[in-house]
């Protein structure tokens, strides 16, 4: 299936099938019964454009572009409130993550989406050494847009060692770790039809 933006026929299942095949836990989307409990349970409720309930309906209605370019799923704080309250036991948090990740892989994320940038940075940070270097991570953010005032005080409280920036924690078998990620990525890309 092409990864560019086509508009599938409305309410036909093309986009739903794409989601089921390629998005983490996407096969659950069809099981939503549209009760709206997720929408009422989200701590970032006032901030997103579409509730999970609505995102699921949009998927069924075939609104591919609107869903994948939305910033709604980037508002997920991974609090799992929707998951435990969903009467249909949909793993909503994971579906949101899956949609976000899928949009990222397709290059459809709105430019400058801050959580998208932080999340990417976070993974790259951990993938580099096998563990997260909190200082580098936060400094990168700090220099980027001047946020995160708090980090300085953590440094001051001596819980974060500034010397970490010159090396810090790393795992010993970094090569093996990275090989695992590379292999896993290869298998997943193949499954999702994103390669070859």
């Amino acid at each position: 299936m092409a990864t560019n933006l086509q508009t599938p026929a409305p309410y036909h299942n093309n986009f739903l099938r794409e989601v089921e095949e390629r998005v983490e836990e996407g096969e659950w989307v069809k099981m939503c019964m549209q009760c709206g409990v997720c929408a009422g349970s989200c701590p970032f409720g006032p901030h997103w454009e579409h509730s999970p309930q609505k995102i699921f309906m949009m998927i069924r209605a075939g609104k591919r572009e609107e869903v994948l370019t939305s910033d709604a799923m980037w508002m997920c704080t991974s609090c799992y409130n929707c998951v435990v309250r969903c009467p249909r036991q949909l793993p909503i948090t994971h579906i949101m993550h899956g949609l976000a990740s899928y949009a990222h892989r397709l290059g459809l994320v709105p430019k400058g989406q801050p959580t998208h940038e932080f999340a990417t940075m976070f993974w790259n940070n951990l993938a580099k050494k096998g563990r997260v270097n909190e200082l580098k991570l936060t400094l990168a953010l700090y220099f980027k847009d001047g946020l995160v005032a708090g980090i300085k005080t953590v440094v001051l409280a001596k819980r974060l060692n500034p010397m970490e920036i010159f090396g810090g924690h790393a795992i010993k078998d970094l090569k093996g770790f990275q090989a695992i990620i590379a292999k896993a990525r290869e298998i997943e890309d193949k499954k999702q039809g994103l390669t070859g």
């Binding site: 409130n81 948090t93 999340a119 951990l126 909190e134 078998d173």
Partner: protein, 299 residues
Amino acid sequence: MAKKEYAFYPGCSSQLKASASNYLTSVNSMCKTLDVKLTEIPDWNCCSASIGYCEGGELPRLAINARNFAQAETHLPGQDIVATCAACWLSARETKDRLDGSAQLMKETNEALAAAGLHYNAEVEIRHMVEVLIEDFGYEELKKSMKKSLEGIKFAGYVGCQTNRPFGISGESFENPLYLDKLVETFGGEALTKYDQKVACCGGALAFSEPEKSQKQIRDIVESAYDHGAEMIVTPCPLCQANVEVYQSEINKKQGTKFNMPVLYYSQLMTVAYGGSMKDAGLDGQLIRAEKLEKITAK
């Protein structure tokens, strides 16, 4: 009591010199009193937390968590993996659940692990330190080693999200889990009977990317603790601890509040109750000093 041994998964934030190093310090002190031996999983790696989803996708995240399991199975056979960080525990539990539930994912994960010569046999159990305390000891047993009471301090038990949902501590409700309150009461402290932000979200990783929205959450969490008469907040999660403690000054600056509420780990409370020093309990690492607790250590 016989020594209990666990494969320890401290996680990135609890490493030495990281943001939750005071958590690690107090956990070590607490475990010493309880005669618990924590052996770090050799060469453990990051769990990727929840926020790793974007670039990590599904299988790479499962695979790196499974790497830790494989390491534990090989080097610490028969020991449960114990995590202190809520996110580490959750990522690991989720990985185990998903692999247990899908032969396909299990096969693919082991294919990936094979790239580093590893294999996961699905033998290991994943537990949070709180589960160890409640299930392997129990409140009564924990109380036996108490040397000092936390009497006279009122704590808001802020459970937050990831030790509570979607798995939670066995026997607790998602909407009103009581284990933190029970721990506080076990050691003589007073727990809030009503705390409407008990399981609210602090914004998690979005405290970095969506600071305004997250700080609204944090403000509510601290304000509600004040409203119900708490003097300190106690939590089991390093990200909750950091977000709720660190941003108080910024919220004060932006919104004219006068927040100055210490935010502690349950392990710090227990270390103090077990007679540990300020340093043992990692109280010297607090941004907002917990003076009343410090006083108890000095007694």
